[in-house]
Amino acid sequence: MSNPVNLTIDGKAVQAAPGTLLIDAAKQSGILIPAFCYYEGYSLQAACRMCLVEVEKFPKLQAACTLPVAEGMVVRTEAASAVQARKTTLEFLLTNHPLDCPVCDKGGECELQDMVFRYGAGESRFTEVKHHVDEKQWSPVVYYDAPRCILCYRCVRVCDEGMGVTALGITHRGAYSEITPNKGDHLNCDQCGACIDICPVGALTSGIYRYQTRPWEMEHVGTICTHCSDGCKTTLGVRNNEIVRGNNRDSTGINGEFLCIKGRYAFDFIKHEDRLQSPMVRRNGKLEEVSWAEAVKAVAARFAEIKAAGGAIGVAGSVHSTNEESYFLQKFARQGLGTPHIDHARSGDVPALIHALAGKTDALATADSLYHAKAVLVVDADLSQQHPFLAFQVRANVRHHQAAVYTVTRGPVREEQTAAKAVHTADYLAGVRGLGEDLKKHADLVIVFGDGIKGAAVGELVAFGDSLGIPVRYVCLVDYSNSRGAMDMGLLPELGPGYHPAAVRGMSLPQMAASQDLAALWVVGADPLAGGKRLASGKAFVVVQDLFLTDTAKQADVVLPSASAYEKSGTVTNVTGQIQRLKKGLNIMGAKPDLEIFGLIARAMGVDAGRAQNEAVFEEIRKSVRGYNVPLPVLATGGAAQAQPVNGRVDVLPDPELVRSAGDTLFTSGSLGRYSKILGSVMEAPGALYKG
């Protein structure tokens, strides 16, 4: 700290950096000054007057949220005059407040309730009739109850500054002031729910959680969002084996409080009426429900037969399964079934990036780097739509550190609003090269690239990065919650775990589909035959493990209902290679986690593929997958540990032609999204990529 300022708060000697706000300086030394409108990370509002404190030599009380510390300042946060002022402020706030705490969703975690409890302004001297306005529904997600609003502007600021959407504003004046949505009577926005989460009172409530329960009635399970690859931590509120809400209550994850609509609300797919809850076996051309024992026996017997006859077995892994599951699957397939034909739906060319970065250290960015880098270059991605959390990090970086943002995309994106330069082209490398002179000026750079950069282009991009002469770090974007983990664990025909070349090169998914003599296809949480495609091999025995009856499952001989990420434990790896732990939130009757299913099949076949149990498999991963030897306590305490850079050449590079992102928007999420009613109900806003 350069020349810290010395001051006294409540008789305690405090040191703070020059320019620190009094409210922050107090907080750092453990003194909490009450505040409604002040919110760390967003612009100052000074609208509520809750933070008034007595400062010696000032004739009047001062707002601690806007007053910078000064040398020799003597502050009394709980002076009688300050306490009286807060009490009066509360009394004013309550003049039109309905005080319907018993039915208010915020009751029990309401900052206004807490303050009234603390300062005891329960009695009001106002006897006039309270001004009442009816509650409004702005979208399937957001409801607004004006009388409860204390006009702190937190929602307005988080939507504008945090989300870059600016969908909320204030209309009318004085006691009649109200928050108003961008379309007058409804919202056309990201539907992220950040405004609801940040609202200190029950003025903004969510259509999903409204009137369902109360905060103390739920169990709070901190796990990882199962939609995009950003890996946000979401705390599920679980009651009676049902998820009633998602938020990030304790702000501990890599995402702080951020969640997009998918992490916050799109957990409803797990209770969709089409969810599979019983294994099925095809008999006389029809899928019939059978017991688990019977279905597992059928699979094991047929697999054993095919293996004995030397038939080709294809295995398609999942981009939502845990690392443990993907690792166990490829091990079981390679060693137990003796097949090299393993693949998954690839959405980013990570192996090419790892190869291009061989010999470099500290070249893989984390989510945190996007917040700290002096410059960020986004190539071929509509970040706000495809990777909402990464986009949020970039916006925060611009806001707090004035980072320079550059975009090279095929159409308008939201990042352009604050970008130093935006280039529209489909020749991404040429676009990037044109920015060389600008990028050189910055102290460091993070390059985020989508599936438009793959194969040799990745090497060229890294060579371009090297030519800048500044530290450059990279993020290769992938689609889903464990797309990255699927690759790291070796669900590739060319590469085994940790990007070691596979002993025998197997068939890729399209090759399996086109193969005339494929004897079996085992599909785990994937849909390679989407759109009614058919296998070239008519005789193949198809086994599908999934949550729903996908197009592939409709053609299967055996269908096994699997558990979603919210129903199991394990680890997943996000787009920036950060490993985090899933925590099981609930059970869905009939469904089993993929790992358990693998274990059952292995045992029925008499194959020893190791213990199908999370901790045991993860131990093996730590020992045998390059980069995964991460500290366990970090994971156990809900933290994120980045997989160490592999830092070596990848001797066999997979075919870049197979790398294709699904191009999900904010409101789609592959097959999971199709079964989320809430995502289906909010489709109005942007709706497609590259609409700005």
Partner: protein, 165 residues
Amino acid sequence: MAINQVFKSASAIVQGLGITFKEMMKPTVTEDYPDVPPVFQERFRGKHELQRDENGMEKCVACFLCAAACPADCIYIEAAENTDKVRISGGERYASVYNIDYTRCIFCGYCVEACPTDAITHGHGFELAAYDTAALIMRKEDMLVAVPPGARPPVIAEAAASHGH
């Protein structure tokens, strides 16, 4: 046996019978339960009653405060939102399920104290014996008082209709 011992015994019997005869003349204090219903002090805490307001709407707004206050953790509630069609309580929310487990309730009255709407009270019901413990888990319908005479909760009829009863 000495003669004075005989007198002593006789006088003790007379003394005892004296009390008996004196008490026979006084009004009875014991109750003739079960032939005559027992009388309770107002404050007696018996089986709970869920109250209705003067319009016949349920007073409970499913705030879960009683459940939070209950030291025996025996109150189970599920909340639902009142709509224009189905309006059960006076507030925005009502209890679609409200159970009290009388195998656990200790009749402490904390729930009654916690209730912000005076929806739950202790009635005087005390005949809470059963052959089957499951019968001691009372549902809302078992505790809800009747609609007061004269009150016409209009939408309840509609609610019932919309549920197809």
